[in-house]
């Protein structure tokens, strides 16, 4: 084997602490090294040409580049080597920057270490085999999980590009939280007016298969080739027959027992219901928990009045399987419901605010419903307890956000803006009303955002008080809000008619379960995690699974829509070619040695190990061995390290190669 060594100075980055000339000179004496040079910028065009030229002139069949981390430029150098006609996997990188120059001061020591690392890489490249990238076919269909604004945007973008989409929503209608909102900041345009046309577009799109009241049960396979099992929950209404006339809901005798989820428990709904009049699809669902028929079989009023015979009490959940190439997760958020005794014991609650005890202490979404023209008060400001118009409202920001002791340490990001909007909407309708906002800081970064908050303060006269509220109690029909004005340094007491708490945005309670089902990482709060916070913000670490909207972190509508479009674009990048290329550095099982203990299967984080049955020529079963699914394997090497019989090797990082590297260092 003829190996060339190329040492890069990385400008001054390596050159300052490593004597590159000495390294290249020393490397020239290593066995099999026939050529060794150093250059200021090896990754530059002239630098790459030095490598290519040397390969051609000296017929090199192995290359070692001493440069920055392989994370940075391995691809660059491997491509240069491939351009010169050598298999790219015969090129190895010795990391002389992150592992040497950036972490050492002494030039002599650093140079010695650099020489060692180059020797190490030379020993490895000697044992490298030429490898070919793995080609896998791509199913050009996208699964979008979640039908809020993020899911809708992602589905429409992908579908409009001509690819099929399956949109799964667990609620009876798409629309998500955005459909509950009154007006949106900073333009104050009506939320439903801008959202409902998009919902209808999804419903009518020939490329979108809409599955509402459905949940993802299982995801198998790998990037480009997922097999997804979806549970279509029983609506107890035949969606092929129902016309959405609403007769069943009119006649349903249960009107008061079920709280309306859409109105955030401020109103009630019937047992057979659509969440809101503009629901898509406009097909009702029977809530079997409250429906009399499902309790004692006595009522079947809806069945009697249905002119289309669409009520179908015996309907069961259905399981559907879909072939999918890319998945976009857009499951959104929930508002942190503060209560005296929250179910989640990790959350301490805010008993001092009396939420759940006082009817007029409400959260942000409840306020949205009260402010909404389609809400329980038709957009008139009336407080829940007695229907009177509140003349004084106190808004409290950061309830649960930025509070490590009681809530969550993160900032929910949208509350400063929506609180300003709430106060503004209130002042626009109740001119003689007073609005107070307790805040910690006003975080209004965004286009036209700070201007919006200033408008609330300066034009609409909303009174902002910097400080926290310590308690709220009722006295003579008023809510006494006791807090502190930290700018004036005085305690404040306000006798409010209503209090609105800007509670934290939290991950969906089932988010971690879904993450485990589809195999993506999530953080301690239950938010899904991206691969790289700056450069790959919409990709999960599992290939082919992308993230959109507030399931990733608290974000507002513009951010969610932008992220959804980005995720859609990423999915379409996958569909740009018929075959996907994957790195060949994956695990390989020696079936002769494998004893079938399947420790590897237990430790594999990517579910890439399968069970394979071995038969002899007569067709008799011999044994079970591990088998690596090349589509799923990420080449992490955990199985390799775990295997007690050393029968799994990581291609490109075989035990032989590793031992040779170690020997080179001794």
């Amino acid at each position: 084997m003829k190996i060339g060594v190329f040492i890069c100075h990385c400008g001054e980055n390596i050159g300052r602490t490593v004597d590159c000339a000495r390294v290249s000179k020393a490397a020239g004496f290593f066995p099999n090294v026939v050529h060794s040079v150093d250059y200021k910028y090896m990754c530059s065009d002239p630098g790459q040409n030095i490598i290519k030229q040397a390969i051609k002139d000296l017929q090199l069949d192995g290359v070692v580049v001493g440069s920055c981390s392989p994370h940075m430029h391995e691809k660059t150098f491997r491509k240069a080597v491939a351009d010169a006609g050598v298999n790219p996997f015969l090129c190895e990188i010795a990391n002389l920057r992150e592992h040497v120059s950036w972490v050492h001061d002494d030039m002599d020591v650093a140079t010695d270490k650099a020489i060692d690392l180059v020797r190490f890489a030379v020993e490895k490249v000697k044992r490298n085999a030429p490898l070919k990238t793995i080609q896998v076919p791509v199913t050009k269909r996208t699964l979008v999980i979640g039908g809020g604004i993020s899911g809708i945007q992602a589905a429409l973008d992908v579908a409009n590009a001509g690819y099929e989409v399956v949109l799964v929503e667990k609620e009876p209608s798409i629309g998500g939280h955005m459909s509950q909102l009154s007006e949106t900041f900073p333009t104050l345009d009506c939320s439903q007016c801008i959202l409902t046309p998009r919902m209808v577009e999804v419903y009518q799109h020939p490329k979108i298969k809409l599955l509402t009241y459905s949940e993802v049960e299982k995801v198998e396979g790998f990037i480009g080739n997922f097999k997804v099992t979806i549970r279509k929950k029983a609506r107890k209404v035949d969606d092929t027959k129902c016309t959405g006339c609403g007769d069943c809901m009119q006649k349903c005798p249960i009107k008061k027992k079920a709280l309306s989820e859409f109105d955030e428990n401020l109103t009630t709904r019937s047992a057979i219901y659509v969440p809101f009049p503009q629901a898509v699809p406009n097909i009702p669902v029977i809530d079997t928990e409250v429906c009399t028929y499902f309790k004692n079989g006595k009522c079947s009023m809806c069945k009697k009045v249905c002119g289309r015979d669409a009520i179908f009490f015996e309907q069961e959940d259905q399981m559907l399987t879909e072939e999918i190439g890319a998945i976009i997760v857009a499951t959104g958020y929930k508002l942190y419901t503060i209560d005296k005794k929250p179910k989640n014991s990790e959350i301490k609650g805010y008993g001092e605010y009396g939420y759940g005890k006082y009817k007029d202490v409400i959260d942000g979404l409840q306020f949205e419903r009260i402010a909404s023209a389609s809400g329980p008060t038709s957009g008139e400001f009336k407080r829940p307890s007695d229907g009177k118009e509140p003349k004084k409202i106190v808004f409290i920001q950061c309830v649960g956000s930025r509070d490590e002791s009681k809530g969550f340490s993160y900032c929910s990001k949208i509350c400063c803006m929506y609180t300003a909007k709430h106060a503004m909407l209130y002042k626009h309708k109740v001119h003689d009303g007073e609005a107070y906002v307790f805040y910690m800081d006003i975080r209004s970064g965004g286009k036209m955002y700070d201007e919006f908050v200033r408008r609330a303060i300066e034009e609409d006269g909303v009174k902002y008080i910097r400080g926290r509220v310590s308690r709220i109690y009722e006295e003579n029909g008023k809510y006494i809000v006791k807090g502190e004005d930290t700018l004036a340094g005085v305690p404040v007491e306000i006798d409010a008619d209503m209090v609105v708490l800007a509670t934290a945005m939290i991950a969906q309670p089932e988010a971690s379960k879904l993450a485990q089902t589809i195999g993506i990482p999530y953080d301690k709060y239950g938010y899904f995690v991206e691969v790289h916070p700056k450069l790959r913000p919409v990709e999960s670490s599992s290939g082919g699974i992308f993230l959109a909207g507030a399931c990733h972190s608290p974000r507002d509508i513009p951010d969610s829509v932008a992220m959804a479009s980005a995720a859609a674009a990423k999915a379409m990048v996958l569909f740009g070619s018929d075959m996907l290329e994957r790195e060949p550095t994956i695990a390989l099982v020696n079936e002769n040695l494998c004893a079938g203990c399947f420790y590897c299967k237990k430790v594999c984080a990517y579910n890439a190990i399968e069970v394979k049955q071995i038969f002899d020529r007569q067709g008799n079963f011999v044994k079970e061995v591990a088998y690596v699914n090349s589509g799923l394997c990420q080449g992490c090497g955990t199985c390799n390290a775990t295997c007690p019989s050393k029968s799994i090797e990581l291609i490109g990082y075989t035990d032989e190669q590793i031992y040779a590297e170690i020997a080179a260092l001794m």
Binding site: K340, G351, K357, S405
Partner: protein, 292 residues
Amino acid sequence: MQIGYYPGCSQEGTAKEYDKSLREILKILNVDLTEIDDWSCCGATSAHVTSHKLSLALSARNLALAEKQGMKEIFAPCAACYNRLASSKTELQNHQEQKYEIETIIEEKINNIPEIYNIVNFFQKVGKEKITEKKKTDLKNLKAACYYGCLLVRPNGINTDDSEQPDSMEEIVKATGAQTVDWNFKLECCGAAHSIARTDIVVDLSKKILDDAQKHGANVMIVACPMCHSNLDMRQKNIKSKFSDYKVIPVLYLSELIGLALGLSKKELGIDTHFIEFDLPIKNNVQEEVSA
């Protein structure tokens, strides 16, 4: 049932009736109190404003003694004692290095710190049904405002009850047959140790508490802390002299209320030693009435 007892200084001084009433009712409820031998000050407020280490060491000494005397559980009726002992227990359990240092200071080993009960937890353990079972007096004329004060359910996380909207004391009070009222200032500050140096502060703060309770229909205050009791009971005279329209309200320890339910006399319970006389009509001998 047997339990270790940490009376604390108040039980031998300003809150003698608290101790007396407890011992009386526990005779009826068949609970034996074993006082921790050679117990010392819990440190109260003075220690932890002076030195954190001092406050820990004082509590730790008592906990170590209890452990050495074979106690698995101890009962501290005073809210301040309970708060100090329970806070110290949590800290000693969670900070090993701190624990070693304190062990050196107190020259005792700490291994298994006993379970610590305040009065509410204690009666939860004894069982509300036991109180109901042995009830002899009808207390339904009593409308009780349960006052937790600042220490009983704090700091957050040490006690099982909600530290902002507690309701565990109400449960015990209901078991005696008395009614409870929902009111605002269950946790509001009574002025505590300002009682002597700044009586004016205590007068104002205590009045707010007593007014709110009465506004919500209470005719008796129930407390679980000697400090709360002394401020709310003793300072009502000062309130009255400052605000002539103020109406007084009797203040009972939880133990005294239970004692009344169990048929003990005001004298046996030490209620006669209070500043504000307890003269609400209560009917004796429920059982007889029922059988008749």
